[in-house]
Amino acid sequence: MIDTGKEVIRERMQRSRSACLRGTGMNRALILILSVTAQSWALAAGEQGCLMPPDDPERFGARVRIVEEGRGPVREWLYWRLPRRVAYEYPDRQWAELWYRLDGGQVSYQRRVDQHKRVINYSPATLRLLDDNQDWERQRQLVSLAGLTNQGSDLYRCQPVSRWQGELDGSPATVFWSDALGMALRIQRGTTELLVTEFAEALATTGFFQRDRDYVDLDFADIGDNESDPFIRTMIAQGFIEHRH
């Protein structure tokens, strides 16, 4: 059946896009999740002790949690960092997103599906034409400080941080920023906040990035030639590449 009204069409477009974005880039998920407008805050239970910072600010992992007022934790993922590399791992779904910064500032992007031992690659040239996935700073820092104002020093779970305020994607926000790690440890926006809840050390980080040593690589450009590939079929069925049918 064909929808006829412009509003209906716009809504369908947005619904389709939003569904996808929620399932992919965490920065984009953050935009969506943090886009609620109320101002009250409450830390979720278990986030009150002191954080143990990593020894090496260039090689570590972190557990990141999204907490929504009145609902508690709504989402969690793992953050992994190496020099020029950053990854977001979603253990419950057994897949991860990985970014790699090239000389000259280009960023390459992969999706890794541990369950199937597969890696799907984006062409950097194509990726360069997309804005958000190329935002290396945002992926690595969890937020871009551009447009925010430094409000002075503070503490977040015993860690020295600087407090930044301003608008993130059009909404008032506060960012608790670790200069030592060069990343946000806490972001408040509306009724939702992002929290770094614990760190992992370099060994675990290396393990994460080496996990795909025997995985099979596939380009997005190759999906069209591999419809009969059981992995592609499974991914389609699971809504990784496609859903709705």
Binding site: I2, D3, T4, K6, I9, R12, M13, S16, R17, A19, C20, T24, R84, R85, L98, Y100, L102, D103, G104, Q106, S108, Q110, N121, Y122, S123, P124, A125, T126, L127, R128, L129, L130, N133, F209, R213, D214, V216, D217, D219, F220, A221, I223, G224, D225, N226, E227, S228, D229, I232, I236, I241, E242, H243, R244, H245
Partner: protein, 520 residues
């Protein structure tokens, strides 16, 4: 006034080739002009003489996924990019004098894939989808079943006759179409050792990259240029090149660096990975070339400027390959593939597919200009088509990537968008299936989003933008091949054998006859 428009400014070499008339009439031509143009074309057809000489050289061009609708739309787009109305334009290969239709099915599939179709063209034997250089007794993915089923390719035969041979592609050099010229594999995806399941390793099947390096018919390939460096390098960051776009560029899990092994095998050869290396090759004094210009596929023509260290275009690679191969006085066989026409369509992007088709036509033009039609057989075809359509009743000269602006009851352009029954405009070109509508998502970026089947287009959207993806009816993870026939265009010795509707495997017979028989 009758205007004889040479669609392309071809040199004397091309016009002396038994090519057809390139008459084209611009809008406003009178009936007398149409008749005069037709008579001239008829004279040329009558005077066309079959060339029954022995072919010294053969060049096979494959536009991967370049169905007839793609040729038509690219023809119009190329003309419009030059300021013409477009419909009257001709792509370079449309000036070749002979045309036939090719039946493209695989032995086990109504709608084919590139592995089975290219095997048919290179060996004369149709086979299954997904398998390369082996007959259809092979079970896909089963190494043991493929042993003893290997087929002999025209490229191998050329090498054994003392010819030089070359393979040029914008896809990975280990991808299905180029691989079918030199490799045998029960699975098109076994591009390197890491792609072969452990259960199939050690049974006598070699990965495709290794087969390329150790290809031993005659004295081995003289030219291999394309993408796919990852399949030749170890999965170890220490082997990354300066052109790497991944943290670990190589995929090989056996620790072997096949680029180094190739250089050991051919110390006089040139291994290059970027535009500068390519430009530095002196084809008159280079024995052979291995050019791996990208970790994976080379860039779409639209995006070539974004490559880290630069990549040559398909036409540049074609020119360089011919200049090197024609050092052999015995002759040469060259296969040139535009691999990314197919990928543009799979992504539902007419803009990307058509711009790669235009560059493909430019590569054919280079070949037509730099070879002698008396001794060089040129065949241009596709392995299969796509579900790509040209529809509606747009007025003459309407932008081929635009929305349909029709004519009024008097036959003149209305100047405004035609509206479908849902009240919204629609594009001339579109797809039956695939990911469907999108804006601002160039090329393969579309795979990051869920399908948008159906109608979304509203007035004011720039449908000619590279980020625009045409609407599709059936939602699929990517747009699919189609099962319709594709065209074959040919010129040179024995090209006249290519007429009527033929099995795709007939192309092999023509190449073999032209180079082996040479009898009237």
């Amino acid at each position: 006034m009758l205007k004889k428009v040479l669609a392309l400014a071809l040199g004397s070499a091309l016009t002396s080739l038994n090519s057809t008339a390139t008459l084209a009439l611009e809008p406003g031509a009178t009936p007398q002009q149409w008749l005069a143009a037709g008579e001239e074309a008829l004279r040329e057809a009558i005077n066309q003489r079959a060339n029954k000489r022995l072919a010294k050289n053969v060049i096979l061009f494959i536009g991967d996924g370049m169905g007839v609708s793609t040729v038509t739309a690219a023809r119009i787009l190329e003309g419009q990019l030059r300021g013409q109305t477009g419909e009257e334009n001709e792509l370079a290969f449309e000036m070749l004098p002979y045309t036939a239709l090719s039946k493209v099915y695989n032995t086990n599939q109504q709608t084919p894939d590139s592995a089975g179709t290219m095997t048919a063209m290179m060996t004369g034997v149709k086979t299954k989808a997904g398998i390369i250089g082996v007959d259809d007794n092979t079970v896909r993915g089963d190494c043991a079943s493929s042993l003893g089923q290997q087929l002999d390719t025209f490229l191998e035969q050329s090498e054994r006759r003392g010819w030089s041979t070359g393979v040029v592609t914008t896809a990975r050099i280990t991808h299905a179409t180029p691989a079918a010229t030199y490799a045998k594999s029960p699975e098109r995806n076994w591009e390197d050792i890491s792609d072969i399941p452990v259960s199939e390793q050690g049974k006598g099947c070699m990965d495709i990259a290794e087969q390329l390096v150790y290809f031993n018919a005659g004295d081995g390939l003289e030219v291999a240029m394309g993408g796919g460096r990852r399949h030749f390098l170890p999965k170890d960051a220490a082997f990354n090149t300066a052109d790497a776009v991944s943290a670990v560029e190589g995929d090989r899990t056996d620790g072997r660096d096949l680029t180094a092994e190739w250089q050991d095998l051919y110390p006089q050869g040139a291994y290059v990975i970027d535009q500068a290396g390519f430009d530095a090759i002196d084809p008159d004094h280079t024995e052979r070339v291995l050019g791996l210009f990208n970790e994976s596929h080379m860039n779409y023509e639209n995006d070539r400027g974004l490559d880290l260290l630069g990549e040559p275009s398909l036409s540049e690679m074609t020119a360089k390959a011919i200049d090197l191969l024609d050092n052999n006085r015995n002759g040469f066989f060259l296969m040139v593939e535009s691999g990314r026409i197919d990928h543009g369509h799979h992504a539902g992007s007419a803009n990307y597919a058509l711009n790669d088709t235009i560059e493909f036509a430019q590569a054919v033009r280079v070949a037509m200009e730099s070879t002698d039609p008396r001794d060089t057989l040129i065949i241009v075809t596709a392995d299969h088509s796509h579900v790509f359509t040209i529809a509606g009743y747009p007025t003459r000269g309407n932008p081929i990537l635009g929305t349909v602006v029709g004519n009024d009851s008097s036959g003149a352009s209305t100047g405004i968008n035609e509206l479908a029954a849902d009240g919204f405009p629609y594009t001339t070109v579109g797809y039956t299936n695939g990911l469907g509508y999108a804006e601002g998502t160039p090329g393969d970026a579309i795979y990051n989003f869920l399908p948008n089947p159906g109608r979304f287009l509203m007035a004011g959207v720039d449908t000619t933008d590279p980020g625009y993806h045409q609407e599709a009816l059936v939602p699929l993870s990517s747009e699919t091949h189609s099962g319709e026939d594709v065209a074959i265009y040919a010129g040179g010795p024995w090209a006249h054998l290519l007429q009527s509707t033929q099995e795709q495997s007939f192309i092999y017979q023509v190449m073999k006859h032209a180079t082996h028989k040479a009898r009237p």
